[in-house]
Symmetry: C2
Subunit: 253 residues, 2 copies
């Protein structure tokens, strides 16, 4: 059971404004929530689940002292942000921001300059996790991490990759990367450069990298295309995955 009032409160968390006011967000689905219980149980404020989920996971919930309420499929549908809700929804507290130092002498990371599409953003976080990038940086105007679509698209990676929102100059003041790469239209061939640890700037889906930030790039890169084709650009998330995988190949394999 869930009260009408609680339903409303949770529905409010579908909106950014209320997430930020309450410092709460939603994580949904069996896989994501079970991972959350295993790796970050401290962020779960309350859990709503159908009888199937509870039957299966009651010992786990009790062991981790997670408060839960059994609700019907219909009630889950009311509070869920998903078109096909999957047994469980967790109301979670925002992560602690904590330290954002990063060793750019040994590792590479991303700076997402005003990325906007939640699906792109979420799959980039998932991909960063795959390639072992522990922290990624975003401009303050970028898409919100706790957006429901972002959380779901990360497939759990939001628990492992730290996402830090900071103006680029503050990232640089603090961490002093020597190499500032940037994905641009007329840079050097990604596949012919010797890539080193550093920070990789990725621009907005429509407008690319902000002009001020462009000037800070000291190693512009371009993904070469087949000559004479008509496609002018790649999807931002796909371009990012191609660039990151090439850094990984050269530096980590």
């Amino acid at each position: 059971m869930i009260s009408k009032n609680r339903v409303k409160q949770i529905q409010f968390l579908h909106q950014k404004k209320f997430r930020e006011q309450n410092k709460l967000f939603l994580a949904e689905g069996i896989k994501t929530v079970k991972e959350l219980i295993a790796s970050r149980p401290e962020v779960i404020e309350e859990l709503f689940a159908t009888v199937d989920f509870i039957k299966e996971n009651e010992p786990l919930l009790k062991k981790n002292r997670i408060g839960f309420s059994e609700i019907s499929e219909k009630e889950l549908g009311q509070i869920s942000s998903q078109t096909t809700p999957n047994q469980v929804l967790a109301v979670c507290r925002f992560f602690e921001e904590g330290d954002y130092s990063f060793d750019f002498e040994k590792n590479f990371s991303l700076y997402l300059d005003d990325i906007r599409d939640p699906g792109n953003f979420g799959t980039i976080i998932r991909m960063a996790d795959w390639f072992g990038i522990s922290t990624i940086f975003c401009s303050p105007s970028s898409c919100e991490l706790y957006n429901n679509k972002v959380i779901q698209a990360t497939m759990g990676a939001f628990m492992r990759v730290k996402v830090v929102y900071l103006p680029l100059n503050e990232v640089m003041d603090k961490n002093k990367p020597a190499k500032i790469y940037g994905a641009v239209l007329n840079g050097k061939n990604l596949f012919k450069e010797k890539l080193e640890p550093g920070l990789i700037l990725i621009g907005n889906e429509a407008n690319g990298i902000n002009k001020e930030n462009l000037e800070l790039i000291n190693a512009p890169l371009t993904i070469p295309s087949h000559s004479n084709n008509g496609t002018e650009s790649l999807n931002a998330a796909m371009a990012t995955s191609i660039i990151v995988s090439e850094f990984f190949r050269q530096i980590c394999v």
Copy 2:
């Protein structure tokens, strides 16, 4: 002006069933439709546009003998499949299927085995175009090319990349690729293999490659991940882009 009856007919084309019955699909937005007029005017059956589009493009439309109707923003909103319609909608005829031979001795291509997500499918077509893949193959169960979301996600690449739906054995009977690569969980390290022209199998988002097709792979590949991470997989479109870019790097750069 557009009649109520025509509005209904076009709205029906938002559904796969009616697209297939009529062999018609919709292409929308200034950029996509202008590219279509420039490169494939013969597929446009009828064009609906607001006054702004017509003012700007009337000579182009007349030169290409494209029938058009001026409609209001409101009318465009009624027939559009987009949340933010952009001046123009074209009703188009399905492309001719034509020949599907492919020279696997010189080139590489993709076989998408039951890809389902329109966004993934569309960005894969866009990426294939970027890297100069002229034809891609899909299992008959895969997502429909003429789905509105696919068409929009390709950013025009659907006009340049031929998409052929065929069971894998028919692709092989006809084109006899020597190398059948497949993206699997326990294959050889993508970055350490010497890659050659051939066919690359990409599986379904949730279930991977169909069991029958798995057996036809003679060169299984895996994108290496950072050790000890928690992410079990990459988004299907991102994994495809990483694999294709590595083939491109080794074979074409």
